[in-house]
Symmetry: C2
Subunit: 512 residues, 2 copies
């Protein structure tokens, strides 16, 4: 190295020691993962105070920087990797995926252009084909990995909208279309996901463009209602451009009737998008295969490997049945990719197939995770999650202090704590309304208190306007024993909060 020149590199031996120490920290974390609290004891202001240092002027030893992990970062972490993390839809992370992320970062290839990442590009291409094959999607599809489900949906809906305008708006803009009427898109009234709203806003059609299609009693989109709505909307001058079918919905992990929706979309000439961010990979389970019939007819499919495939954050994915539509939406010329070799040297430029241009080597963690366990291994893991959801349902059915709100679908299951003496009152439609505010409050309070104890991370949702306890069971580590522990904890918190709550309610009644 030239005189007086410096770099960010530690000495090679120092790096090795640093790296071993990081691995030790990770090994310790994985070894304790069943024991660790899912949520820290600290509040937002306390965590903010912990990270209130002035801008570092002079550097610190890398050992000291790494030691901060155990001193400050880890104690204020949540633990999605825990078998008792049931919040949102969080993949629990694969240990080999964490090593893959480090390897990828060490070589630091940019997967935006083939020239920047030859093996990164080809591994991503291979992963896309594998994912397509896993869910029964055509092998000659297009696709790209994204930073997550929202950006995967963005790529799909943006392409759908461009397709509806015959790609004329890429240059001229959305306002150039002089067809009167509003571009509209469609999703289940009950199970819509907020990413659809975010994307509708970002692509310029606005969130009011989303039309809510009625559901059946299992909270699945009603295809006949969709059919009617599309007909009526066109008559009323709207321009339907996309129907979103959920493949593993956010509240109850139901799968919309894909084949019937595909028929309706075909009849009306509307793009069908299957949002399988949460549940598309469930198609590898033979016993669930019937739910996925028709997914191969969707124009686009999203599926997030960082969700049910447990690949570490972040790794989303979108597939396109017609690769040309994807290319027409995202292709670009870049003068920095001009060169004199013949075509055979050019390769695929993934930065011209999705929203991002420069891109990380996301595919490595997915590739290594898929190779580690194979489809058979994942089949076993996904099946475990489904069995846990069924086990939880069995517990709820058998309990006289919980209420069933749904039949189990895949891995997300929602239900309600309902004190035994209120059961009859709730069964009566007139009385239900009167006590519902209290039961809503009770269920919210139970999950909040459980979360703060760190025993399990559980959230609520709304099922038919009632506040429900929701468990998203997608950790590869969760067993029925974890479900039992969590169920008992919910009951314990329920009894104690209900006892406190009745006093409050009684005193409120006494006040009136």
């Amino acid at each position: 190295m030239s005189e007086g020149f410096d770099s960010l590199d530690p000495d090679p031996e120092e790096f090795r020691e640093l790296g071993y120490r990081a691995v030790d920290m990770m090994a310790e974390h994985f070894a304790n993962i069943r024991a660790v609290d899912t949520f820290p004891e600290t509040t937002p202001p306390e965590v903010a105070e912990e990270f209130d240092d002035p801008l570092p002027r002079d550097g610190e030893d890398p050992e000291a920087v790494l030691a901060e992990w155990n001193e400050r970062v880890y104690p204020n972490a949540t633990h999605q990797g825990s078998p008792r993390w049931y919040g949102y839809v969080m993949g629990s992370g694969t240990p080999i995926g964490a090593l893959a992320d480090a390897l990828a970062a060490s070589v630091n290839m940019n997967a935006g252009a083939w020239m920047g990442g030859p093996s990164a590009t080809e591994i991503e291409r291979q992963c896309l084909q594998w994912l397509a094959e896993m869910i029964g999607y055509p092998a000659d599809c297009g696709g790209v990995l994204t930073s997550g489900g929202t950006m995967a949906n963005h790529a799909a809906l943006y392409t759908a909208l461009q397709s509806a305008t015959e790609f004329e708006t890429r240059e001229s803009g959305l306002r150039s279309i002089d067809r009167p009427g509003r571009f509209t898109l469609y999703e289940s009234a009950h199970e819509g996901h907020s990413s659809a709203e975010r994307v509708a806003e970002m692509i310029g059609v606005g969130s009011d463009a989303i039309r809510s299609v009625p559901c059946d009693e299992d909270l699945r989109m009603d295809p006949a209602a969709l059919d009617d709505m599309l007909t009526a909307d066109v008559e009323n001058g709207r321009i339907p451009f996309c129907v979103i079918a959920y493949v593993g919905s956010i509240n109850v992990s139901t799968v919309d009737p894909l084949a019937e929706i595909a028929d309706v979309c075909a009849d009306h000439g509307v793009w069908m998008h299957a949002d399988g961010a949460c549940g598309a990979v469930g198609a590898i389970l033979p016993e669930k295969e019937h739910l996925y019939e028709g997914i191969e007819r969707a124009d686009s499919v999203t599926l997030d490997p960082h969700k049910w495939l447990s690949v570490p954050y972040s790794c989303g994915c979108v597939l396109f049945r017609d690769p040309d539509a994807q290319t027409q939406a995202f292709s670009m010329h870049a003068e920095y990719l001009d060169f004199t070799e013949e075509e055979a040297y050019h390769g695929t430029n993934l930065g011209f197939l999705g929203p991002e241009m420069s891109r990380p080597f996301r595919a490595l963690k997915l590739w290594m995770s898929l190779k580690h366990r194979g489809v058979e291994g994942y089949r076993q893991l996904l099946r475990q999650n489904c069995r846990c959801a069924e086990h939880l349902h069995d517990r709820v059915v058998a309990a006289d202090d919980f209420e069933v709100l749904q039949e189990p679908n895949l891995f997300i299951y929602s239900f309600r704590y309902l004190p035994t003496d209120l059961r009859d009152a709730v069964a009566d439609a007139d009385q239900r309304e009167a006590i519902n505010d209290y039961v809503d409050w009770l269920n919210q309070r139970i999950t909040d208190e459980l979360r703060l104890t760190g025993e399990a991370f559980v959230t609520t949702t709304e099922i038919r306007d009632d506040t429900a306890i929701r468990l998203s069971i997608c950790s590869h580590r969760t067993t029925p024993a974890d479900i039992d522990t969590t169920f008992e904890a919910l009951r314990e918190h329920g009894e104690h909060i209900d006892a406190e709550g009745r006093k409050r309610v009684d005193s409120e009644f006494a006040d009136n």
Copy 2:
């Protein structure tokens, strides 16, 4: 663990061994980084064939999976980390950042909501403040880390557009605005970046909305020309909504005149976006500070830590002078974030401040890298890059077989190989055109051939319609000795390709 239940976890001791092996691979890579070829010897079809395995049915031992790194992935990698990687604007990666990525992936926090990532959220917030302070941006700004520069620009331009429509289009869509005219945005005619085009398309204004503002002879935007253009455009019924000023441009790393552009934007009431993805962090250099005056007046700034701060892919960033504008553009309600605790428990939800919702813990690698070297350390590193660019310029000035095309700015420098006997001909405007095709071809061919040898990764660009050799010197490892080696290699390839090329040209002449 329950009977018969499985997971993706290796045994803890097995994980430790796997991890040590991965660290050894990384340590070896870093130790050899000055010697390794920048580009693999393989072609796209060969790499594609290397990754043509059938979908893995049964799993493999994790040791075998990890071994693939050395067998297949690494031999087909490019090496952005090399001191002689001068392509695009690629950060070279910090070793501590690679370990940070592994630690982040092992705990796998989702930084989309505070509830999912308490320390991830607060560390990101701290990093945003540090970055703002580093470039002299207001400390009370908003901001968010993104997956890269395109998405950072997306967040900025999308917010600018919403702001121009008074945020009325979030729900109602862009077509609901009945103001006639075209929304337009502005960038330098010479130094525009393709991400602006991509974003203009994605937010629905279309790429033709981009107006090219004339430049001065140093390829900086001409503020007077901008002023005139804005006036004329409004008179012609256009609706200017954003001016993009480049802070470290893509071809020559120039900085547009920020203070003067800010004045023009203020006069016309147009959002000013400073695209500093490549060069904003250069503001930490006192000797360059004058270039950055006015950046604090930009409504938004992008700066990519994965570029000149060498943080591993991917880590982009956008800052907003008015945090409310950011919030108004991206805020959402999510029922899964309802709970009963008081406000103080809620924290910041970063997923409601940018395009993504679920998000990885990108900030850790940035935080650790900044702490490792501090501002003083980075000052030294950035200065090295600028010194290398100046050194290269000196070599070009002193050479009689190279042509100067620009004065050096920050770290990107473009110039031309020009055989000695063609110098006089090219100096003559009439003759220049006649031989330019040949010189263009020659320069393209030189960089292509050099790239394929793996000695250095160099690209071309166009400077005033001439094909130029472009070196982006942003590796923290590059020294003047690397520049000398590369310069000599370019000359050597130049001489040999020119000799071959003349024969071809002569025979073409002979044929005519």
